[in-house]
């Protein structure tokens, strides 16, 4: 189930938010990206579109502290967001993301972060 369209619209209309969201990793690196792209993650998506008031969304620029994700992992994740956004709409076959961007050493951590963020 999801909220009716009216509620979502109301939620978005009320907040005078910029269309960017800032993701901060555990070691302090800040990644600023568009909300639409960050919504590839189910976690971030439900936060942004939630009707309730959360600390993160109260500020003009939505800031999300991801205290259990390191910066290098977060970097790969953000790259994935853009990758997905680019190839979701186009007709061509996407190149293999895993081969190009995921070094084997980071695989496990990346897997856990992905599970956490639901993406």
């Amino acid at each position: 189930m999801s909220l009716s369209d009216d509620e979502e619209a109301a939620a978005n209309a009320n907040s005078k938010q910029s269309k960017y969201v800032k993701l901060i990793s555990s070691d302090g690196f800040e990644f600023t990206l568009e909300k639409e792209i960050a919504c590839a993650s189910g976690f971030i998506n439900s936060l942004i579109h939630s009707a309730s008031k959360w600390e993160e969304t109260q500020q003009p620029l939505t800031t999300l502290h991801l205290k259990n994700i390191k910066s290098d992992i977060l970097e790969i994740i953000v790259k994935y967001f853009y990758f997905k956004h680019k190839y979701d709409k186009s007709e061509q076959d996407p190149p293999d993301f895993g081969a190009t961007h995921i070094p084997p050493s980071k695989v496990v951590q990346l897997l856990m972060a992905a599970h956490y963020l639901d993406c």
């Binding site: 189930m1 008031k53 993301f97």
Partner: protein
């Protein structure tokens, strides 16, 4: 193929990152998630060893070549003692905030993470139970206010629904927020425990428990349904209601699972009652077309209602309710009150509604009955309109036209409103066969006259196509007539006149008509008629030859333009062949032709028919020279006036040798044309009547047609033809009886009657047949059995 490739590439594009990372674990919604071992942050207190070995096993599966070794922590990270309690408190605090609509103080991410931590520590059940308790208490408080409010028990208190709507919307948003925070719980613990409900469902269960309160007397449920039904009724009466409110309440009802079981039943019952009342009142007040429109409007309304706020599955029940109450209960009344009027006025659309509605309540049978009655009544009315002899001829003239129009309207009703249903066409056939034969012979005779009129040159003004269409339609209704020989007799007579007097409009039209007759009445009749055409053609030939013959002969004498028609006596109607005294010039020519003809066709005998002959005569009146088109009789009479100005009837009769009755007609026609004057007024014409030539005769036309009398059919002619038909029928009956008896040798009276009635092509009266049997017995064709009075024997 290409499409399958696309699908798979689509799937691959939308792959989650986690799917990319672990290709052999499915990342679908419905699959259990294994709690992942965590190494850096927290560690499962109980199974530290297992974690690392599981991780190493998994990692070794990933990349084929590289092998990773993950070492255990040397020092186990410790959890603070109060970690669990703190986290749980934090979570519960957050929930309280959500319930109280306080917000903005907790970090979503932090809560989410906390929930996830607790889940991995196997504290899922703990959280779930606490969550359940909190929600339970909160919802109970929310609803409690409703139960406590005495004012809401009142029927006319409108506040119940809005407050319920508020509660419902709150509940939705709260549960949504809670679920977002506790997403991990939903995905891990709840999935594992089969008996555990998802958070959303849990919320619903609690809500239902408190709202409906099955142990106490649940006034909310009853009142809730009551209010909704009342609102719906208001809307049906035309008032505006808050549709959003109703829609939300209905959604709530649907989620609480009482839509189908409780609400829908009440709704349908309520609907039935409402439309029962409406049907009963409106059927008296409205005309039937309006009533039908109202029903259609109601059906439409309910349909819209279902789209707007009810469940679409209810649609069918509501439609049935309307149809039952408003149509099914009033079928007879509707038909009785308005059917005939609608058909008369050809309200095609309204009839279409009627048909559709009746079809859905299975009431087509009474509709068919009424249609049959209507067709019969109206048809009888048209046919019998001329029975009253006062207005007979006028009414009868219009009968065929009216019949054609009537048939057209019936046909259009069937094709446009009744969807060309075969049964209705059968009904038309039955009803027409009934009423068209009620007035014996007249319709057939009138149809023949009508066709005759159409085929004459006088009927200009219709295009060829229209003419053909009209004749087709006449044939259409001719099919229903039983006594087809009447039509044939009159048609033949009229055709003969047309051919001889050259009044036929188009030969093509004539030929087409013959084809139609061939289809309806058979080949023999048609070939008879075709022979008449042949005769005309042959006569044309003969005329040519005769003219050449005359020229060769160098005949001395008055030369007149002279045309002969030779008629084969069998094909043409019988005409009077009395010999009259023709002027010498004409008599000479006739003699010449006779000898000429006999020479060519030896063995044939010619007899002259003067009644149909006509001529053009030059007349010098004092006021001007005129050309008169006269019938032979008229010409003979007028030539007598060359010698004298006045003559008595007796004298004319003896000189011309025309029969008295014909002569009377002729004289009267001449008087009517103002060429002759007579003493007495009116139609009287005794033997001593004196006729005088009109010296003052004048006419603005140079060429005057005086022989109209030949063209127009008189009453006597009709009577004569009818008698002939009657005579023919008697012969047919005789022939039929003898034929049957010859085959069977002996038959009972009843059987003989039955056989004859079956075989005769026209409607014979049993009386007639009985009389003919008597005659045949007298003439010794049959004899009665000595012992059995009803048995007949064939006498060879």
């Amino acid at each position: 193929s290409r499409t399958s490739l696309d699908v798979s590439s689509q799937c691959s594009k939308k792959r989650k990152l986690s799917a990319i990372l672990s290709p052999d674990s499915e990342h679908d919604q419905g699959v259990e998630h294994q709690p992942l071992p965590k190494r850096r942050k927290m560690q499962r207190v109980s199974s530290g060893n297992k974690a690392s070995s599981a991780a190493s096993r998994r990692n070794s599966k990933k990349k084929q070549v590289k092998k990773m070794v993950i070492k255990k922590f040397r020092v186990q990270p410790k959890l603070s003692q109060t970690f669990e309690k703190d986290t749980v408190d934090k979570l519960m605090g957050a929930i309280r905030d959500i319930h109280a609509k306080r917000g903005g103080e907790c970090s979503f991410e932090e809560l989410y993470r906390s929930c996830q931590s607790l889940c991995t520590l196997n504290k899922g059940k703990l959280i779930y139970d606490k969550l359940y308790d909190l929600c339970d208490k909160h919802i109970e408080a929310m609803i409690g206010s409703l139960h406590g409010d005495e004012a809401l028990h009142e029927d006319d208190n409108n506040n119940l629904l809005p407050r319920l709507q508020d509660i419902w919307m709150n509940h939705r948003s709260e549960m949504h927020a809670i679920r977002q925070v506790f997403l991990m719980l939903d995905r891990t613990y709840v999935r594992q425990e089969t008996e555990c409900k998802s958070l959303w469902k849990m919320g619903i269960v609690l809500l239902k428990k408190h709202i409906l309160q099955t142990d106490k007397n649940s006034f909310i449920e009853v009142k809730l349904i009551f209010h909704i039904l009342r609102l719906i009724e208001l809307e049906r009466n035309g008032e505006e209601i808050d549709k959003v409110l109703v829609k939300n309440i209905i959604i709530m009802i649907a989620h609480l699972n009482i839509y189908k079981s409780k609400f829908e039943k009440e709704l349908v019952a309520n609907t039935n009652e409402y439309y029962l009342n409406e049907g009963n009142t409106l059927i008296q007040q409205l005309t039937i077309p309006d009533y039908l429109n109202q029903v259609m409007k109601r059906l439409d309304d309910e349909h819209k209602r279902c789209i707007q706020y009810l469940d679409h599955k209810t649609q069918r029940h509501l439609s049935i309710a309307i149809e039952q109450q408003m149509i099914h209960n009033h079928v007879d009344k509707i038909l009785e009150k308005g059917f005939n009027a609608m058909c008369d006025q050809l309200l095609i659309n309204d009839l279409r509604h009627l048909y559709a509605l009746f079809k859905s309540v299975n009431a087509l049978a009474p509709l068919k009955e009424y249609f049959y009655e209507y067709s019969k009544q109206r048809g009888l009315h048209i046919v019998n309109a001329g029975i009253d002899t006062q207005t007979q001829s006028k009414q009868d003239k219009e009968m065929v036209v009216k019949l054609l129009k009537f048939k057209q309207s019936l046909d259009s009703i069937i094709s446009q409103s009744f969807q060309r249903h075969g049964d209705f066409r059968k009904i038309i056939r039955k009803s027409w066969e009934y009423f068209i034969n009620q007035r014996e012979n007249k319709p057939a005779e009138l149809m023949a006259k009508f066709v005759d009129f159409q085929l004459q040159t006088g009927a200009r003004g219709t295009s060829e196509q229209e003419l053909e269409e009209t004749l087709d339609r006449v044939m259409d209704i001719f099919r229903f007539v039983n006594g087809k020989d009447v039509f044939q007799a009159f048609y033949k007579k009229d055709l003969a006149k047309r051919l001889l007097l050259n009044t036929s409009a188009s030969e093509d039209a004539e030929k087409n008509m013959i084809n139609r007759i061939r289809k309806e009445c058979g080949q023999t009749v048609a070939s008879n008629l075709e022979n008449m055409f042949k005769d005309v053609d042959i006569s044309q030939d003969l005329n040519e030859k005769f003219r050449l013959h005359l020229e060769k002969q160098e005949h001395v004498g008055n030369h007149i333009d002279f045309k002969i028609q030779v008629l084969t006596s069998g094909c043409w109607p019988t005409y009077n062949t009395d010999v009259i005294d023709l002027p010498p010039v004409i008599a000479d020519h006739l003699q010449l032709f006779s000898s000429f003809y006999v020479r060519i066709n030896s063995g044939r005998k010619l007899s002259w028919t003067s009644s149909l002959s006509h001529c053009v005569m030059a007349a010098n009146f004092p006021k001007g020279r005129k050309e008169l088109v006269l019938s032979a009789f008229q010409a003979c009479v007028l030539l007598l006036f060359n010698q004298t100005n006045k003559m008595k009837f007796k004298a004319i009769h003896s000189l011309t040798k025309i029969s008295k009755s014909e002569l009377r007609k002729t004289m009267l026609s001449l008087v009517k044309a103002n060429i002759l004057l007579k003493k007495t007024k009116g139609m009287e014409c005794s033997d001593d009547e004196e006729f005088k030539l009109n010296a003052k005769y004048e006419n603005r036309l140079r060429r005057v047609k005086v022989n109209q009398i030949q063209i127009i059919e008189t009453k006597q002619e009709v009577v004569k033809t009818s008698q002939k038909i009657y005579q023919d029928r008697q012969y047919q009956i005789d022939a039929c009886v003898v034929r049957v008896m010859k085959a069977r040798k002996q038959l009972l009276h009843q059987q003989l009657m039955a056989e004859c009635l079956k075989q005769l092509k026209f409607d014979a009266q049993p009386r007639q047949i009985k009389k003919r049997i008597e005659v045949l017995i007298e003439n010794e064709y049959l004899e009665r059995d000595a012992k059995n009075n009803t048995l007949y024997h064939y006498k060879a």
